[in-house]
Structure formats: structure tokens, C-alpha cells
């Protein structure tokens, strides 16, 4: 973790021309609440964009983090299917500091997507697509192209190495602004008091 931070520091502080910190975000098994909380920094986004550049993200039209890599990668949501596994790996490869953002990604406390871990994966699919009261002539969708669900939902840290764990459901906007500001300034954020919440 400190190695990654050192590299970030060098790039931000050790150069003559200040360079914007590149950020990439993505959502996995998520509800989008973490991204909404990110947008809840309101007008501060304009301040942030003076020092940071948002490359790929679900709300921009770039779908993958740039091949040359970004400084900070943000992943929200748990890992619940094979597509998400690939995205997590790609983000890890293409960023220096990876933030597991929100309870679903951090996986502690237990996040909502993990509630399907108490049930058999097929029972869950059957309830929605066959048994539900309003479903008519249901069947479990299975065609090629639809990714496979993992047997159990896991956290981001279970599939790739994570540098910063930011719990919260979602993390509060003030905390997000603090974390990003610290990273942009080349420091590791310290999560405590009002900035450490599990709900």
C-alpha cells in the first residue's frame, strides 16, 4: 500500500507541472448509491475536477480504464458474477491505488448483495424467474452472452488486492470528498470518527 502511495506522491508532488490525478470508477454488484454519494459532494465536484480527471466511469462514456492506467481506481459493489470478476481484475491492473468503495466492496459489515449467499444460487433464480406471483410462463434466463452468477457473492478484496477500504452504505459525501482530497494531495486518508460508518 505504501509503495503505491509513494508512486502517487512522486507523480503529483515531484513534478514541475502539476498533473491532474486520474481517477477511474466502476460499479459491480451495486445499487449505484455509492456513485450517487460521490455526486453528493455537490459543487465541490468543480473544485475536485481542478485537481482530478475522471476517465472511465458509469456516468461517462468511456467503458474501460485507459490502457496506460490511472492513479486512483474506485470499485463499488460486490463481485457476484463472472463479468464483474473480469472488471475487478482489469481495474486492479490499470490503477495504482485501488479503493474498495462502500460496504458491498469492502464486505465488512456484511453487505446486502451477500444476502443471497444464504440460499442456493438456483433457488434464488427460480424464485424470481419461475415462482414469482406475477411471472407468467417463467424460465431461468440462460442464453449465451448472459454471464454466469458466481456460487457465492464475494468482496472486491477477495479477488484483487485493495489499497484503501472505505466502508459505508453509502460512504457519506463529506467522507468521500475527504478521501479523494487526501489522495489527490498524496496522503493516505485516515478513517475515523465521522468518516468511519458502516451504515
Amino acid at each position: 500500500m505504501s509503495q503505491a502511495l509513494e508512486k502517487l506522491e512522486q507523480r503529483v508532488l515531484g513534478t514541475d507541472v502539476p498533473r491532474k490525478v486520474k481517477i477511474a470508477t466502476d460499479w459491480l454488484e451495486a445499487c449505484a448509491g455509492c456513485h450517487m454519494s460521490l455526486l453528493d459532494i455537490d459543487e465541490r465536484i468543480i473544485e475536485l475536477l481542478k485537481h482530478a480527471e475522471i476517465t472511465s466511469s458509469p456516468i461517462t462514456d468511456l467503458k474501460h480504464p485507459p490502457e496506460e492506467g490511472v492513479d486512483v481506481g474506485i470499485l463499488t459493489g460486490s463481485v457476484g458474477n463472472t463479468d464483474q470478476l473480469e472488471i475487478a481484475k482489469e481495474m486492479r491492473k490499470r490503477c495504482k491505488i485501488l479503493i474498495a468503495f462502500g460496504d458491498c466492496a469492502v464486505f465488512n459489515p456484511a453487505p446486502i448483495p451477500s444476502m443471497r449467499n444464504f440460499f442456493d444460487k438456483d433457488d434464488v433464480l427460480k424464485r424470481t424467474y419461475v415462482e414469482s406471483e406475477s411471472t407468467v410462463d417463467g424460465e431461468i434466463p440462460k442464453s449465451g452472452g448472459l454471464c454466469e452468477l458466481l456460487e457465492k457473492v464475494v468482496g472486491v478484496g477477495d479477488v484483487v488486492k485493495v489499497d484503501v477500504y472505505l466502508p459505508g452504505c453509502p460512504p457519506r459525501a463529506d467522507t468521500i470528498f475527504y478521501v479523494l482530497s487526501e489522495l489527490v494531495a498524496g496522503r493516505m486518508p485516515v478513517l475515523e470518527d465521522e468518516n468511519l460508518k458502516y451504515d
Binding site: 474498495a100 460496504d103 465488512n108 459489515p109 444464504f118 468511519l196 451504515d199
Partner: protein
């Protein structure tokens, strides 16, 4: 008490012989994290959060169960201890399924607060997602195994504090869980719904149904008051938010009950289904219609004057405060006032200085319970008797002709006519106590008093302020049969079967609820609830305690004291 000196975290501190290391720390303002520790429970060392390094002792020792010795050198603040505490918390989170984001306790959870304090933002221990049960069979609360950290505060409280001994541990190792009785669901067990377990639970494992999600403690106000349901007078803390009562907790600091409550005090006041009366109403042509306070009290005064005040009788609920009763007795100074209710007469006068106090029950080693089912009528007195039984093996003798909950604890079960068989046990005991209630006749109580010379008698009056009423000269029964008019101050008491108009011409009923019982009256005046008024009540021990206003009564209500005063003025005019 002998003083001892210790060095804790490099500081010299003083404690008392017999203290645990934790107690010495607490007395000296040294913070030690705890989870299973509770000031009202015997410590058990289950959670290991309070581990301390004690020079000369191997490893780390839980300070809550380690006796402090003079000269001990203790450290509670080392980095390694903090590392262990973090590990313990992470293990606790990973062992079961803690979903903070929708938990009713989030924000008030002791496990969560400790995790925040130790800055835990990640957990390297993986959860196995065990499938655990949720017991939703209990009417007032839910037990969710997913959130249980097995601190055992609940089963300790159930036995050590409330005496009911319903909860215990079942299974073993990783499957250990809290069970009721011999592994019954809570709703189908001997659980009395006293709610003590819910009050001590540090996490969201035991959840009060009614107050779920209604507010965090920092968003609420707490008002100390006294329960008015029975004559024990338990100290309570009423938790409110935006003029609603969220829950009623036992006041740990209250001398009378030390935090124990019962279903009637903790839950029933909040589960009231009766319709609330908020305006004075008069019966005209067989139906009730609203009138103004002035109209109502003018009319009542007129009717009372018509029949003559000497012919007006009063009935007053033992939920009325001393202040209300005082004014009531002043209004009806003819002496024709009795306590409201069917079973209000307590035979007494035979104790000859051997009146028991409530604490005598707890300290007794032989208790004769005579024709009263404590679990139904005064459950907290039942708790006291159970504590005597479980904690120092008090002999329970039950003399009752009906089914009685104490039957299963009684060493000796007698019919009411067989009390002589109890004499030997009572004589041999050091602190024998006889408990009886309003069902016992004068002759019966006389016999009881003569049974043994040193036995103390506890006559349990029926209502919260029955004792206070007695002090004002209001007894269980008075000569009210031939009254021409009745003034009934019922407050928020239940009215079913408690009064009859006995052929009177005019009946005024001052009550909180609009039920079918009001049909017996000619005029009804709204009364505030117990939680909406200020006053005092006196318990069976003669202790006068405060009833405090926790919420505002609905608009348009006035206090009972004001009503009685104004009525008095109008009568006197």
C-alpha cells in the same frame, strides 16, 4: 473497606479490597473496552475485550474477573492489546452475519461503537455465512441469532436481575446459541415478557418490535418516572421523540426495582388498543356528544348540588397521584370515597411491627405465598421471590387453591386451609416472609400473622398509589351503595368490571379511554395518561416517588387537578 494500591498504565491508583481490576480502572477513570460487562450483572469474561497485561501473571487476563491485589502493576493500553482487541472484533464480525446497514441498533450498537473506536474499516477474516435462525414468536421483541455475539448479558439478566431463568445456552462450540427453556421458541416458553434481556443486549440481536427504526438514542429524550400499574412502584425511564413514547426502560438506578420491569409496566402501556377520549362528553338521548369544559363542569356542579354533596360518593383509581387524590378528597369531604376496583381491600393491622419491605422478599430464606399469583399480579415481586430462590435457595411454600405460576418453584404446595403445615419451615428460617394480596380475608390474614412469631408480612396492595390513597384516608371500600351521585376519577385505569352505578341519579366518569364502560356514566371527562402528568405516588413500602410528564396530552385536555379544582369552585359558588 481496606484500601489497595495499584499501578495502572504507569499511574498510581487506589481501589478497594475485593474490586476487580476493571472496577479499579473504572473508579479511576481509566478506559477499558468491554462488551459482555454490564454494571448490573456478574462478570463472566466472555468477550475478552478487557484483557490486561498484569505483571507476574501469565499471558493476558480479563480484567473484569481478575481480582485486584495490592501492589499489582497493570497495563491496559499497549499496542499489542489494541491489536488483540481489533482481532477479537473482526472475529466477532466474521463469525456471524452483521448487516449494519439495515440493523435496528445501528448507531446505538456497542459492538459497532467499539469497531469504530478501533478504526476497523476492513476485516481480513472471511464470513462463512452460516444460516442462523430468527425467533419472531415473541410478541414484543425479536431474537436474531445473526447479530448475537454470545455475550450472555441476556441470559445473565434473565436469571441474575429478573430472576425468571428462562434463557440459557444451547448446543456447543460454534453452534452455541441462546435458547429459551429447553430449546423452545420464546413465544412458546415460560418467558414473562419482562424485557430485561432486550434492555441489556448490546447489539441488534434482541430487538424491541415497536420502537424499531423510530430513532437513535441521541435523537430522543429520556424522562425518569415511576410506573403506576401496581403497588411496587418501579422506577422507569421513558424514551420519547417528537411527543411519542418509543419505549419504556427500567431505571437501573432506581432503589425499588433496580432496573427490573414487567410486561405490564414496560410493554402494555404502549400496546393500548382502546380509543382515546379527548373532549368532555355528555349523554343525551342515549348517545354521547361533545360539550365544552365549562358546560360540562357547570352541569356536574349543578347535579351534585341538587343531590347534596353528602350524597355524592367518589371512586378513585389507585393510578391517581397523591396531588389528584388530595384534591379529590377535599371535594368529597363526606368520607364516601373508595378505591376504584373490585379487589381493593387489603386486610392488614395484624403485622404488629412485622411489616415486610420489598427488599425483605429478596433477602428472605423462606417465602410463603398465600393466594396470590405473583407472576400475574405483581411480577416484579415475583422476580424478587425468584431471586431469593435461585440465588440463595430460599424455600418457596405456595398456599393456593387455584393454578399458580409459582407452583413449579414451590418446595411445598398447600391448599389455603393447610397453612399450618408451613409452620415448621417458617420457624426454622432466619428471615421468613409471607406474601398475600387483596384476595385474603381478615380472618385469613390474622391466622397467617399468628403462624410464626418472626415472620414478616407483605400485603400487596392492588394499585400504584393504593398506599398513597390509604394515607389520605381513602380505603379499599367505603359506604357508597346508597349514593345518589358518583364522581369516578378513573385516570387511565382499565375499567372492565370495576364499578357499577348502583342506581345513582348522576355519574361523572373521568377517564382516558372511550370504551363500552362509559355507557354506565352520564358524563365523561377526559383524563391525561400517566405519562402526561406530573405528580407523586406512594408504593407499598411507603416510599413516595415522582410520576413525571414525558409527553404532552392531546390538545384541549386539562390536568385532573385543574378539573377537580374548577369543579370544586363551581360547587362552592
Amino acid at each position: 473497606m481496606a484500601e489497595i494500591r495499584l499501578t495502572i498504565n504507569g499511574k498510581e491508583v487506589v481501589g478497594e479490597k475485593g474490586d476487580t481490576v476493571l472496577e479499579v480502572c473504572e473508579k479511576n477513570g481509566i478506559y477499558v473496552p468491554t462488551l459482555c460487562h454490564h454494571k448490573c450483572l456478574l462478570d463472566t469474561g466472555a468477550c475478552r475485550m478487557c484483557l490486561a497485561e498484569i505483571e507476574g501473571m501469565r499471558g493476558y487476563n480479563p480484567s473484569c474477573v481478575t481480582k485486584a491485589n495490592d501492589g499489582m502493576v497493570v497495563r491496559t493500553d499497549t499496542e499489542e492489546l489494541d491489536r488483540f482487541r481489533r482481532m477479537m472484533l473482526e472475529l466477532l464480525f466474521s463469525q456471524r452475519n452483521h448487516y449494519c446497514m439495515f440493523c435496528e441498533s445501528s448507531g446505538d450498537c456497542e459492538l459497532q461503537n467499539l469497531a469504530y473506536k478501533y478504526k476497523i474499516n476492513y476485516n481480513e477474516y472471511k464470513s462463512a455465512f452460516p444460516r442462523l435462525r430468527m425467533d419472531s414468536t415473541q410478541r414484543y421483541f425479536v431474537y436474531d441469532e445473526n447479530r448475537c455475539i454470545l455475550c450472555q448479558r441476556c441470559n445473565r439478566a434473565c436469571s441474575e436481575v429478573a430472576g425468571h431463568n428462562v434463557l440459557g445456552l444451547g448446543k456447543r462450540a460454534i453452534e452455541t446459541t441462546i435458547v429459551a427453556d429447553l430449546n423452545s421458541d420464546l413465544g412458546n416458553s415460560t418467558c414473562t415478557s419482562c424485557g430485561t434481556c432486550v434492555q441489556v443486549c448490546p447489539t441488534g440481536a434482541l430487538i424491541d418490535r415497536r420502537s424499531a427504526y423510530l430513532g437513535r438514542m441521541y435523537q430522543c429524550e429520556t424522562t425518569k418516572s415511576t410506573c403506576s400499574v401496581c403497588s411496587i412502584g418501579c422506577g422507569v425511564e421513558i424514551v420519547t421523540r417528537d411527543n411519542h413514547i418509543l419505549k419504556i426502560n427500567g431505571d437501573w438506578g432506581a432503589e425499588v426495582n433496580k432496573g427490573i420491569l414487567c410486561k405490564a409496566g414496560r410493554y402494555l402501556p404502549l400496546h393500548e388498543q382502546k380509543e382515546r377520549l379527548t373532549k368532555p362528553m355528555i349523554k343525551r338521548n342515549g348517545a354521547f356528544s361533545e360539550i365544552s369544559w365549562d358546560e360540562a363542569l357547570d352541569y356536574a356542579a349543578k347535579k351534585f348540588r341538587e343531590v347534596g354533596m353528602e350524597n355524592v360518593a367518589g371512586m378513585i383509581s389507585p393510578r391517581a397521584t397523591n396531588e389528584e387524590a388530595n384534591l379529590f378528597a377535599g371535594l368529597l369531604s363526606n368520607g364516601k370515597i373508595q378505591e376504584l376496583g373490585p379487589d381493593t381491600v387489603l386486610a392488614d393491622g395484624f403485622a404488629r411491627g412485622r411489616n415486610a419491605k420489598l427488599s425483605d422478599i429478596r433477602d428472605s430464606d423462606c417465602i410463603l405465598i398465600y393466594r396470590i399469583d405473583l407472576d400475574k399480579e405483581t411480577p416484579v415481586a415475583g422476580s424478587f421471590a425468584k431471586l431469593a430462590f435461585y440465588q440463595h435457595e430460599a424455600k418457596i411454600i405456595l398456599a393456593d387453591d387455584k393454578e399458580n405460576s409459582f407452583g413449579r418453584l414451590a418446595m411445598l404446595k398447600l391448599a389455603s386451609s393447610e397453612i399450618n403445615q408451613a409452620k415448621e419451615s417458617l420457624d426454622q428460617a432466619a428471615n421468613p416472609v409471607i406474601i398475600y394480596g387483596t384476595s385474603a380475608t381478615t380472618q385469613e390474614v390474622e391466622k397467617l400473622a399468628k403462624l410464626c412469631e418472626k415472620v414478616k408480612l407483605m400485603g400487596l396492595l392492588a394499585g400504584g398509589n393504593s398506599k398513597g390513597l390509604r394515607a389520605l384516608g381513602i380505603n379499599g371500600k367505603a359506604n357508597v351503595q346508597n349514593a345518589k351521585a358518583f364522581y369516578i376519577l378513573a385516570c387511565d385505569d382499565d375499567l372492565a368490571g370495576k364499578f357499577d352505578r348502583c342506581g345513582a341519579d348522576f355519574v361523572v366518569l373521568q377517564t382516558s379511554y372511550f370504551t363500552t364502560e362509559v355507557e354506565k356514566a352520564d358524563m365523561v371527562l377526559p383524563s391525561p395518561l400517566w405519562s402526561e402528568k406530573e405528580g407523586s405516588i406512594t408504593n407499598v413500602d411507603g416510599i413516595t416517588q415522582r410520576v413525571a410528564k414525558a409527553i404532552d396530552a392531546p390538545d384541549g385536555m386539562q390536568s385532573n387537578e385543574a378539573t377537580i379544582r374548577i369543579l370544586n369552585e363551581k360547587i362552592s359558588r
